[in-house]
Symmetry: C2
Subunit: 252 residues, 2 copies
């Protein structure tokens, strides 16, 4: 049995709490929440504290808070030489307090409080300073996910940037699609099967192989028709730059 | 029983052939293929011709060819006053030959020869000059898909542009994600669950509600870290313009 406590009450903390409560080899000892009114919907048995000095020693402290307070929160853990990890994709492992052993436990997934997720499929990227700590993180991560990866800080940084492209920016393109539909009084529902298939396609083809459309074909007639059709200057600019990128890519 | 013939042998033609062969109320009479070596893997019984003059009269001719030859192909159908439709998202219904009754039968999906698809879920956007022709198209479309929409030419144009954003451009962002992974020797596989969840999320949230990430939070520290990290000037430019668009959108 590995004992774990979680510092934080946001999306990541809540999904980790749910996942650990279902895990067999993990004892979730305490959750620290600054916010006394935080909801822990799935948490039946876990002890919640608002006081760092009430934290008990455990095998692993997981800090799941905003990037900008990771360092200060890690400074407040009242122990030394314990294993303390954060869950951020973009913060260096070294940013954690020097009082304790450092590590990272980064779930690479978009987590919302309002949407349930099968945590077993969430990729967990782990990093630690020593092999023994990495082994412990591996054991904890494997208890809640089937996708565990040992990733160093530079690789994690690259994954975080790549995730912005494939998640944040992709979702923004969905929103632009939605805006174009609204402007022309067409239901966005009509586009949803295409969106799901666009994602599913990369199960069987690389994105490069899966690329289709007027830019890929360098079909300037259709491209110009589309640019004429778009009235929103922001949509037009994004259309131009992504079209150019696809055309240039085809020349490589 | 409605009799249908298809002109063309590309992706769309092949998927339509497969779908019609499974449909109960449709008799697929002939397929015209310019290309004698075209493969029709699912087609067991359909008669293939390479000669327009061998075409028999049917209730509906579906022209599934490249946009730039739709007009010339429609001129070669050796009949008058028959219902002739094309399958393009970006070509006007009026581009079809004046000899016959005009319509559109546009499957809004990304179709590859190498990837099977459940055609029942493909949205079919139909348009015709008369109510009776629209009814016939509705009957044919409903025989192969559960998602049939009556869409006028302007709406179809807007859907085609929106589809470029949510499919072509989204897939290009997947490719950039893949490139960033390759440059940093991380497996692109780690990002796939995130990609699938990004698409699935819009089943329960609007894209605007689903938006997350540093741009949404206007987190300039992380944004600048990412820009520093990106070495490819093209990736950097796309990162900047999409980040700006998300930030501006948040101010609306």
């Amino acid at each position: 049995m590995i004992s774990v406590s979680i510092i934080g009450s946001g999306n990541v903390a809540q999904h980790l709490i749910s996942a650990f409560e279902k895990a067999e080899n993990i004892e979730l000892v305490q959750v620290y929440s600054r916010n006394p009114t935080a909801n822990f919907p799935d948490s039946k048995s876990v002890a919640i504290t608002q006081n760092f000095n009430e934290l008990q020693p455990v095998d692993l402290f997981i800090i799941a808070v905003s990037d900008d307070v990771i360092t200060s929160v890690s400074d407040q853990i009242p122990f030394s030489n314990q294993l303390v990890v954060h869950t951020s994709g973009s913060v260096a492992m070294e940013s954690l307090s020097n009082s304790n052993r450092k590590g990272v436990f980064y779930p690479l997934q978009t987590l919302s409080k309002t949407k349930e997720i099968n945590f077993k499929e969430v990729p967990l990227c782990i990093e630690a300073e020593s092999n023994s700590d990495l082994e412990l993180l591996h054991e904890v991560a494997s208890a809640i996910s089937n996708n565990v990866f040992e990733i160093d800080s530079n690789q994690r940084k690259s994954l975080h940037v790549a995730a912005v492209f494939v998640n944040n920016f992709t979702n923004h393109l969905f929103q632009i699609g939605n805006e174009i539909c609204d402007e022309n009084r067409v239901s966005f529902e009509i586009l949803k099967p295409l969106i799901f298939e666009t994602a599913n396609k990369i199960n069987s083809l690389s994105p490069k192989e899966a690329q289709t459309g007027p830019a890929k074909r360098n079909d300037t007639i259709t491209i110009n028709k589309h640019l004429d059709f778009l009235s929103n200057p922001n949509h037009k600019e994004i259309y131009k730059i992504l079209t150019k990128s696809i055309i240039d890519n085809g020349k490589l």
